[in-house]
Amino acid sequence: MTEDPRCTCYADHAWQGTVAIEQNVRIARDTFRLRFACPEIARRIVPGQFLMLRLAGTNDPLLGRPLALYDVICDSDGQPALLDVVYLVVGKMTRRLAALPPPTPLDVWGPLGNGFPPTETSHLVMVAGGIGQTPFLTLAQEYLGLKTFGDPPRRVPRAEAVTLCYGGRNRGYLAGVEDFRTCGVQVRLSTDDGSQGHHGLVTDLIGPVVEESPAACRIVCCGPEAMMETTAKIAHRLGLPCQVSLETPMACGIGICFSCVAKIRDASGQWDYRRTCVEGPVFAADDVEF
């Protein structure tokens, strides 16, 4: 079969169907955790992949919205059964979603995208801004040896330490911090207004974490573009491997509309618009032209 060599993650193992909301609870300011049963996706999804979610039975909003995997919950037999996503209310779809009780139906398709590479890492440093912490809970679980993901389960060498540097507007917006702590993640926080943790940018936290670390660090990052750009520069300066998960707007999530493009450099350093849904959302930070 001949195919575009750049595209590695088509929706070949995706499932499309209708699910019912099981839980939809507020966990921080404007932030909700949504849970639904979907063993087809729960079985296959890996950290850093995402789903498309759509309100069923309406054309307004029309398109699905991409949301990262937050957690996979197993049934009493230990089989992956339920999916959690965590979303921030920002616009048309998330505003309506926040008001929906169980068992409202939702259209969903996934798992989509490439996910984080399971490369051997001594100290995983996860840098998150805004709602960018969502793809990191499962990644931490994986690197701390608490859970496996994928079908067949992918092997991830255990990390010595996992740190989350997480920044938000103020303490009210910091969502799911306890979920990370429970897993054994070392959490360092920052807020724009100083209401919790470091008063300033989350990227200020990276240097000290790396300096204090006895083990070699790898950085993963998700959040507003300016913050990912700064993180990429810091990682580059420190000579550390770094991947960013881009949150470009998406209309289909499966590679057929070409709306989700970002400037990605090839080996020769030239950039081209690439689809983040099928070639990302995770890219090597050095390849992204911010």
Binding site: M1, T2, E3, D4, P5, C7, Y10, A11, D12, H13, A14, Q16, R54, N59, D60, P61, L62, L63, G64, K92, D107, W109, T248, P249, A251, C252, I254, G255, I256, C257, F258, S259, C260, V261, A262, D272, Y273, V278
Partner: protein, 314 residues
């Protein structure tokens, strides 16, 4: 026709578009199904009547800067800008896969000049698996080029040039962004088009009033989705009265009812576009529902319902 007399299983789905024969009238629109490979895991593509891959051009085009799409009420605006790797990359990387799928592959081409259309047609002539060409003379997102879709004389010349340059069936895809779509349709017919597809997107825009800026990177974009279905139906209806060549209806089709409305208005086949984005398996769902819908009208084949619109009002 006696509805009771027609059993679903005896309904024939084959349709003829000039020299192009399709196993069924359900196809997927250019630019809304990628190069089909993307959909392999979700859609049983072999069952489709036809596949129109994303429009290709002679040379690679980077496309427009993001944001390239924005949702609007019941639809979306796009300004992708014909982002593609050019005809040679298409033939090397995409066409071998498309050729093996089964459905008729109708390759959509766009040129910046009449000569470029002709050269593309000549290049694609005889390539294994290419069953027909669709001429995208209607993309609203390509600045600088002459608009072949709004000038009847130019449109006729482009179609005639392509007809001369290759032996493939030719479909001309028309824009609704004209005062009189029938005059362009007649010109395409005079140029020798086997069929016409209607419509491409409707020119529109979206504004962020707080920031005083257009939302799309390219300012203007093409509106698609359920919001434009009435415009597409109108165009198909008007053109069906004006030309003899068969039509492909496209614009906002998302359900079997939508598809049937297009057949009744005068379309021989339909293309499903934006609906693929928010319901990836929509095309197969419509195909599954088609025999029963045709049987409900007592039709033995698709042609029995094409252009049957008669009365008006309730």
């Amino acid at each position: 026709m006696n509805p009771a007399a027609v059993k679903q299983s005896s309904v024939s789905l084959e349709v003829q578009l000039g020299r192009l024969r399709l196993a069924n009238p359900i196809t997927v629109a250019s630019g809304t199904f990628g190069y089909a490979r993307e959909m392999a895991g979700l859609v049983d593509m072999a069952r489709l009547g036809g596949i129109l891959p994303k429009t290709i051009t002679q040379n690679p085009r980077a496309g427009n800067p993001p944001p390239r799409t924005i949702e609007t009420t019941g639809g979306m605006l796009n300004s992708i800008g014909l982002d593609n790797d050019g005809v040679e990359a298409f033939l090397k990387r995409q066409m071998p896969y498309l050729a093996g799928l089964g459905p008729a592959v109708i390759v959509s081409i766009a040129g910046e000049s009449r000569e470029e259309f002709t050269r593309l047609a000549a290049r694609l002539d005889g390539v294994a698996g290419v069953r027909a060409l669709e001429l995208n003379v209607s993309c609203p997102n390509v600045s600088g080029g002459v608009d072949f879709g709004t000038d009847p004389a130019m449109c006729e010349k482009v179609v005639a040039g392509v007809r001369d340059a290759c032996s493939l069936p030719v479909v001309a895809k028309l824009t609704p962004n004209v005062t009189d779509v029938t005059s362009i349709a007649r010109a395409a017919e005079a140029g020798g088009a086997d069929a016409l597809s209607l419509i491409n997107t409707c020119l529109g825009m979206a504004i962020d009033w707080r920031r005083g800026r257009a939302i799309l990177g390219n300012v203007l974009g093409g509106l698609s989705g359920p919001a434009i279905k009435p415009i597409a139906l109108r165009a198909v209806y008007q053109v069906a009265q004006a030309v003899r060549v068969p039509l492909m209806g496209v614009g906002g089709i998302a359900t079997i009812d939508d598809a049937m409305e297009f057949f009744v208005a005068g379309a021989t086949a339909v293309q499903i576009g934006t609906a693929n984005f928010y319901n990836p398996t929509v095309s197969i769902g419509i195909l599954d529902a088609l025999p029963a819908a045709l049987a409900e009208l007592g039709a033995a084949c698709v042609a029995d319902v094409v252009g049957t619109i008669g009365g008006k009002g309730p």
